[in-house]
């Protein structure tokens, strides 16, 4: 079916044809025709944010909580596009599928330094999976649909479509392409069977195995999580996950070791260090995970499943690299495991579990409780206990609170945990929570925040109020950029340069000023009641939880150290002496 229509109408029609229900955006001169087309229909609902960065994070939250949905954004040229850049980079690093439409000055003005002109495709080339500048109305329908294909297939990522204003006004023929694909881009999803067979053999023969899973399992869809659980059950092997992969494997399962990496558990990191077969499923050996590379799991054979061929052998050499989508590869693995009647080494496995239980016994997430001040870990623990039966969705900002959330909030299902992992974007959590709530209107959505991070996109509170999105902002307020302060304690002699949160607003009044509800709590005895009040308030809430100021986030693999050199919470001594000169140069 082809029809004549304007470019602006094509944009809206393509969004409808792609099944887009919500679009996050902010109008401006160069996208007025598209906004006019949005005004004249009601299939695609537009969500007006207060800053374009918020639009992109909201679309990320929307995509991540909706398993497989592409998040959509519409912003204007120039500042609209540049404000979106942080969100684009965030989505690229965390592999989140987005289509971001930017307005551009009319084609005849491109390159003239026109008002609100910027080289959007130039600026976003390195922070998108792909981008387009549409210079002809005839290309527009194809590009619009292709963008959705590129964003969602292979390793997902953000795609920008830059549309000059004259193209939005121009008239052309719209038709929806039959196959909805890119003409040549065909990422490999099925893994090489010979390699999968070899991997199954290696897995079955392992004496000290570990599954190290990541965001790829989440991105691959709920089926991948189900298959991971099945494979774990078949083998009885321990499972750990990166920050991005939390929820793919249930935290309540006894095979679960907790998160690994810089702030991961002792048992997860030591099991990684001492294992003989490591099965990496959809993770990428990030530096937050590996610690010192030459001390990383030195005696193991490594299997790596990743949809992105460039992730394999990037930082860590692996023995079997399988390019493919997690769900497809896991499906083959489980099938081959069953067909070949693979058996594990039960004796070796029992000994391995005994060793792991020994490490677990160190209780690396322990902390000293207090009757007088709220410990941040305790706050998260209570938040978890009081909300866990409500299937909550958790987003976070970036810093100590994010790590405490990852350690003390436990996830049983995928797509419940939205955090900025790769880029570490402060200000991510509130707009992401808005996106999550938009996708899941009935759900309990909580942004676990820090008092510094939340101020970076505080303006989105207004969006939450406008759309009656009852998101809960749970601020662990320690009056410091806590992670910066912790690193200054560890690396710079406790000289807390510019990391104190001076002149904080009164968050309770701030919530009220926006039309939300504010709660403050600084007493451990009153915390539960205050959290219940937050949960039961049917509108946006800012919860100002006053916590211990100089609490460190432990356990921690200090920079420049290996997995078996963790700092544990019962460390007593001079924290300033842990990291050597070389380690101090690292991030």
């Amino acid at each position: 079916m082809s029809e004549m229509m304007t470019g602006a109408e094509m944009v809206v029609r393509a969004l409808q044809d792609q099944g887009v229900e919500h679009l996050f955006g902010y109008p401006g001169g160069a996208v007025l025709p598209i906004y006019d087309a949005i005004f004249q229909q009601d299939k695609v609902k537009h969500v007006l944010v207060r800053h374009e960065q918020g639009a992109v994070h909201a679309a990320e939250g929307y995509a991540r909580s909706g398993a497989g949905k592409v998040g959509c954004v519409l912003v204007t040229s120039g500042p609209g596009a540049t404000n979106a850049v942080t969100g684009l980079t965030d989505a690229l690093l965390d592999s989140i599928p987005l289509v971001v439409i930017t307005g551009q000055v009319p084609t005849h003005l491109i390159g003239s330094d026109a008002f609100q002109e910027c080289d959007t495709v130039g600026i976003t080339r390195s922070c998108t999976k792909h981008n387009y500048l549409v210079k002809s109305i005839h290309d527009l329908p194809r590009v619009l649909h292709e963008a959705f294909y590129v964003a969602a297939n292979g390793r997902p990522g953000p795609v920008v479509i830059d549309i000059p204003k004259d193209i939005q006004f121009a008239t052309g023929t719209y038709s929806r392409p039959r196959d909805n694909q890119h003409k040549t881009y065909r990422p490999v999803v099925k893994g090489d069977l010979a390699k999968i067979k070899a991997a199954v053999e290696l897995i079955a023969g392992a004496k000290k195995p570990i599954f190290y899973t990541g965001g790829g399992v989440i991105n691959s869809g709920p089926q991948a999580s189900a298959l991971l659980r099945e494979l774990a059950r078949l083998t009885g092997y321990p499972v750990t996950s990166t920050l991005m992969g939390l929820g793919a494997f249930p935290a309540a399962d006894k095979q679960w070791l907790g998160m690994l990496g810089m702030h991961g558990t002792y048992e997860a990191n030591l099991a990684m260090h001492d294992c003989d077969v490591m099965i990496n499923i959809g993770a990428r050996f990030d530096d937050r995970i590996t610690g010192r590379i030459d001390g990383f799991s030195p005696r193991s054979k490594k299997i790596h499943i990743d949809i992105d061929p460039s992730s394999i052998n990037k930082t860590v050499k692996v023995d079997i690299g399988i390019v493919g989508d997690c769900a497809h590869v896991l499906e083959d693995m489980v099938r081959i495991w069953r067909e070949t009647g693979a058996q594990t080494d039960k004796t070796a496995l029992a000994a391995w579990w005994t060793q792991i239980e020994g490490w677990r016994g160190r209780k690396s997430l322990a902390y000293k409780q207090s009757d007088t001040i709220i410990k941040p870990q305790y706050a998260i623990e209570r938040l978890y206990q009081l909300t866990k039966d409500r299937d909550p969705f958790i987003t976070t900002e970036v810093g100590q609170h994010q790590m405490w959330a990852a350690q003390h909030f436990h996830f049983q299902e995928p797509n419940r945990w939205m955090t900025s992992g790769g880029l570490g974007t402060m200000g991510y959590g509130l707009p992401a929570a808005i996106g999550v709530q938009m996708k899941n209107p009935k759900a309990l959505v909580i942004d676990i925040a820090g008092e510094a991070s939340i101020l970076m996109n505080m303006q989105e509170m207004s969006t939450a109020v406008q759309y009656r999105l009852p998101v809960k902002i749970f601020i662990l307020n320690n009056e410091y950029m806590g992670m910066v302060r912790q690193w200054q304690e560890l690396l710079h002699g406790g000289r807390y340069s510019e990391s104190y949160s001076e002149s904080l607003p009164d968050f309770v009044k701030l919530a009220e000023a926006y039309g939300g509800h504010g709660i403050r709590c600084d007493d451990p005895a009153k915390l539960d009641a205050a959290i219940m009040e937050m949960i039961e308030t049917p509108k946006p809430v800012i919860f100002d939880c006053i916590v211990a100021k100089e609490e460190n986030c432990f356990p921690m693999i200090p920079s420049g150290k290996a997995h078996n050199e963790m700092i544990l919470p019962d460390f007593e001594g001079d924290t300033g002496q842990i990291i050597d000169a070389k380690g101090k140069q690292l991030v």
Partner: protein, 180 residues
């Protein structure tokens, strides 16, 4: 030289660095060259030579020949990163397939009088260079050959009055019947 792809020191980096010639078939669309050049600069890889031209007009396909150097693992990374770009169709490592044919073209302007002028002419004919332009005080030579030949020729010409060089960069193709 490659940088270790990790924040952490003492990563294995003792592999020898080697020069590789890559042929990359891409959609000839706006920005594709910037995408490839940006990949190299953004990830800290070297470009020693780069040539681009549309080779199949009906299909709008261009062939990009990139000469780069790095350890075996860096070269693998470069290929993987190139290959996952949306407009890239194929990446072929010509160096991996055995000695490829590599040629570049150079235009060389020499200015001088008397004995230098005679010597320039003699060297040009010894190297098999063509004379594209001549005036009473100058020549412009064209030489096609391997990078090493061109380097040798330029070195010689420096002595007899070289003033300007323009080079195309390398075009390369594998030997034998196999096409990429």
């Amino acid at each position: 030289m490659s940088k270790p792809a990790t924040h952490y020191p003492n990563a294995p980096k003792s592999q020898p660095s080697k020069r590789h010639t890559l042929a990359v078939i891409v959609d000839n669309e706006p920005g594709v060259l910037a995408r490839i050049a940006g990949l190299f600069s953004g990830r800290g890889y070297n470009i020693e030579s780069l040539t681009v031209s549309e080779t199949e007009h009906e299909k709008h396909l261009s062939r990009i020949t990139v000469v780069t150097s790095g350890t075996a693992s860096v070269i693998d990374q470069i290929k993987a990163h190139l290959d996952r770009l949306v407009p890239v169709h194929r990446v072929v490592d010509l160096t991996e397939q055995g000695e490829a044919i590599e040629r570049e073209l150079a235009l060389i302007k020499v200015v001088g009088k008397g004995e230098h002028r005679v010597e320039a002419m003699r060297l040009a004919s010894a190297f098999g260079a063509r004379t594209l332009d001549a005036s009473l005080t100058s020549f412009v030579f064209e030489l096609t050959g391997s990078t090493e030949e061109i380097e040798r020729f330029i070195k010689m010409m420096t002595v007899v009055g070289l003033t300007e060089v323009s080079r195309t960069g390398i075009a390369a193709m594998s030997r034998g019947p196999e096409a990429m």
